[in-house]
Amino acid sequence: MLTLLFDGIAYGMLLFVLAVGLAVTMGLMNFINLAHGAFAMAGGYATVLLMQHFDLPFLATLPLAFLITAAAGALMERTLYRPMYAKPHLDQVLFSIGLVFMAVAAVDYLLGSQQQFVKLPAFLQGRLDFEAVGIGKYRLFIVVVCALLALALQWVLARTRFGSRLRAAVDDPRVASGLGINVNRVFLLTFAVGSGLAGLGGALGAEVLGLDPTFPLKFMIYFLIVVAVGGTSSVTGPLVAALLLGIADVAGKYYAPKIGAFIVYALMIAILLWRPQGLFVRKGAR
């Protein structure tokens, strides 16, 4: 069932963009940031509000969503997150979940608890039908955008100066700073970009995943699965994990609606039993 496969891929791609930031920041700062979903939500709401109040076209709002959340991310990193890096994981988990609670309640208060909607431009609605296979235009759009992002990320990490610095910092912050790399700046940038990507993902996903104040809680677990399964040391890891998750989820719901979610979790446990460090890890992870 190709359509199904395609949906799975689209869903997975979306999850990838949403979660990759989390993976990188976690790998880089060894910081478990459950509040990642809050940035995704921020991006989603940014798009919705921009469209509603400034009636910008959907496409125009996407980069804005990225920038806004990235800025927010940078700000938070500076003010709130940095002091937490040194703390134990448990503290980080609770700190970030505290942030999630605040974000959820605040959005609820400001914008109400109801679902928000993105009015897609006409050319993204409906679907293309190649004889057996039907493909939603918007999902195609998602796949394309996310694929491009994935390539871009890979390129940045592998080719650019920043990428090499980043990888150095991931390997060993102390050594990196010894090499005269400004680790703090790398952290800041990475966090900002990661949050930005989440925001972009949220904007793209609002249509498919739905958008309401409980978004960060609803999808936190999915993000964590992607990161835990994919490992935090590469871009490919989370990508594969996200695709796997997406396809498994979609297929599970199609063929066994009642236990769809069950399949996802079972799969995760199985993989983590087989590879406690995740699918793709350099040795000597935490």
Binding site: H89, L90, F101, V104, A105, Y109, F262, Y265, Q277
Partner: protein, 345 residues
């Protein structure tokens, strides 16, 4: 003022002047060690307060009952989190199994609460044993995810087999028999509260013995340094499995208490927020400290009720704020080096 409080070592008398090792021959090690396990006045006071609350606050039996149950649940998490250093975001799994176990047992087999309690604990302990291999390997993140996954799987199963569990509508028609002495669970919930308190106190006493025993010390040892623990000849994995099962049983007891005192069980007992809440409770009260669970539970519930009654819609915001500030400011209780959280040195 704080001297009577500060036990043992802190009082000058207890520490022989440095270098006086040989003259201090005849230090009674048993006494010295016993000091760790000694009851302190505030512990007695807290126990008394718990008892007093039952007589003093008849109007709040239901809240009290929930607090007692949450405290027991937190105690069980603290045992693995604070003492053995196992992080879990899926502790609700055991709570839920206990709840459904007790409810189903009462519905289909025997309405007697005490037997039901034991059955539920056994069921939860069994699950603990079965899932313990999952928490022996991997990183903290892995452990978080796996425990979380187990709870989620159980949730889905309970939802799937709704003809047994009642699915999303909850398990109806659970009737619980009277406690020994013909004590029926009354509408005001005082009997229920007494029942839960009694179980809680028993569990506290048990855990207290546990953590001061060689076994308990061993747990703290392997939390601090697994490598050395096994170099002392401790079978680390066996210890972890054992404590995980014990904690599971206690969580199961908490679940059973909930099901029995409300005569009802719903998917909610397996929900993620249970696991998250109990984690918060332990941290608010202080991990690695038996009373942390109790105080945490009281603080958490009262906080919730206070804020919620003031602004029902947005209380989570204040809870979040509280957490963020707490973590940013930090507390000596939390700043304790958790070597098991860190990269191996």
């Amino acid at each position: 003022m704080s001297t009577p409080l500060r036990p043992g070592a802190a009082t000058p008398a207890a520490v022989p002047p440095a270098g006086a090792a040989d003259r201090s021959a005849g230090i009674d090690v048993r006494q010295a060690l016993r000091r760790d396990a000694r009851w302190r006045w505030w512990e007695i006071a807290l126990l008394a307060a718990l008892a007093a609350s039952w007589f003093g606050l008849p109007g709040h039996a239901l809240l009290g009952n929930e607090i007692a149950i949450l405290a027991l649940f937190a105690l069980s998490l603290d045992l693995i989190l604070g003492y053995a250093g196992i992080v879990s975001l899926g502790h609700a799994a055991f709570f839920g199994v206990g709840a459904y176990g007790a409810a189903l047992f009462a519905k289909h087999v025997l309405p007697d609460p005490l037997v039901g309690l034991v059955v539920a604990m056994a069921a939860a302990a069994l699950l603990g044993l079965l899932t313990s291999p999952l928490i022996l390997r991997g990183t903290d993140l892995t452990r978080l995810m796996v425990t979380l996954g187990v709870a989620a799987v159980l949730y889905e199963l309970a939802n799937r087999f709704d003809q047994i569990t009642g699915g999303a509508d909850g398990l109806q028609g659970v009737v619980i028999g009277p406690l020994p002495g013909g004590l029926e669970f009354d509408l005001a919930g005082r009997v229920a509260w007494g029942y839960s308190l009694a179980v809680l106190v028993l569990a506290l006493l048990l855990c207290r013995r546990l953590v001061h025993s060689p076994f308990g010390t061993g747990l703290q040892a392997l939390r601090d340094n697994r490598l050395r623990a096994s170099a002392l000849g401790l079978n680390v994995n066996a210890r972890l499995v054992a404590v995980y099962a014990i904690a599971a049983a206690l969580a199961g007891a908490a679940g059973a208490l909930l099901a029995q005192t409300t005569g009802f069980a719903s998917l909610d007992v397996l929900d993620f927020h249970r696991s998250a809440d109990v984690m918060l409770v332990v941290v608010i009260g202080g991990a690695g400290w038996l009373w942390g669970g109790v105080l945490g539970a009281i603080a958490f519930k009262l906080l919730h009720d206070l804020i919620a009654s003031w602004t029902p819609q947005y209380w989570t915001f204040w809870l979040g704020l509280f957490l963020v500030v707490l973590m940013l400011v930090g507390r000596e209780r939390l700043l304790r080096p958790w070597t098991w959280w860190r990269r191996a040195p």
